[in-house]
Symmetry: C2
Subunit: 153 residues, 2 copies
DNA sequence: GTGGAATGCTTGAGCTTGCAATTATTTGGG
DNA sequence: CCCAAATAATTGCAAGCTCAAGCATTCCAC
């Protein structure tokens, strides 16, 4: 009784392979298009992700390790990404008086402004990217992505 | 008459921003999970993409620049990726007698074997990744990805 | 044919990121 | 109180990639 089950499972997995392959290809496209759109604002995709996280936080302040997890980067990646962002004034570094180990990152006024500008470009590029989908497909796609993003890291 | 249209367009774009953000997050997950699964075979995700392309070609041979476009890499990226693969015997380099500029890449017997092994791991990891989707969602998702992958580069 | 444009690949320099080791600080059991 | 374990961030090194420049070869208009 296991033979048909097995063959169906394998067939299913192959289909899912194709979809992951498509996702990888799609990501390549995203990086190029979105990256191109954001370059007009002097930031890269990863920097945008960081600004996005800070902007969405009530205090606009976050610990580096939380930031790392949120944007899918390693802690060292965050350090090396943020150092130049601090130099250009997008964010500011702050100490946590309660715990001297943590290093807080805050969105600066100019960082907020640049993020808001970049947000428009990001939205525009995103719309162009997903333009081939019908409204109905877009809704279904959105639903799938929501499900898949549940447990993130 | 343009006001509501404009506001709807902007609202639409914001929703699409969210989806692209989800896609970026999803890609981070893919790279980690699939990369982890493939590491058991001694190859990375990009190397898998190359083997996959060669395997799918009737002659199992391809020009480097075609390979570059297919896997979304720059030509120099292909050179630097393939050099070690040649050393480990996954692929072989061949000259094209008709045009001495081009450098052909061929899948070797051991490369073919390793690809087939890796394919199973890739499929398994892909299935696990998409497991939260219902069958119906999976079909819709597949359809969307097919549409979005139409014009690739 | 011949010279300049186009094509295919490689190489040098540099960027971004991860992993492992290191440093600094806090926490908790004794 | 104190020391070991845990936690947060940074740093050295290496991998993987891109861009721009360079080289070899082919194509094409004349």
């Amino acid at each position: 009784m296991s033979e048909t089950t097995e063959s169906e499972r394998v067939k299913g997995e192959l289909a899912e392979s194709d979809q992951v392959m498509s996702l990888i290809g799609l990501n390549s496209k995203i990086q190029k298009r979105i990256g191109g759109a954001l370059s007009a604002h002097g930031i890269g995709v990863t920097e945008y992700l960081v600004l996005n996280q800070l902007y969405a936080t009530p205090t606009q302040t976050m610990r580096r390790s939380d930031l790392a997890e949120r944007v899918g980067l390693s802690p060292s990646g965050v350090t090396r990404l943020i150092t130049p962002m601090e130099k250009t004034g997008l964010v500011q570094k702050e100490d946590n008086p309660r715990d001297a180990r943590v290093s807080l990152v805050t969105l600066s006024a100019s960082g907020k402004q640049i993020y808001e500008d970049a947000q428009a470009s990001f939205a525009h590029a995103s719309a162009a990217l997903l333009e081939p989908l019908t409204d109905e497909q877009l809704r279904a796609f959105s639903e799938c992505l929501k499900v898949l993003s549940k447990g993130f890291s």
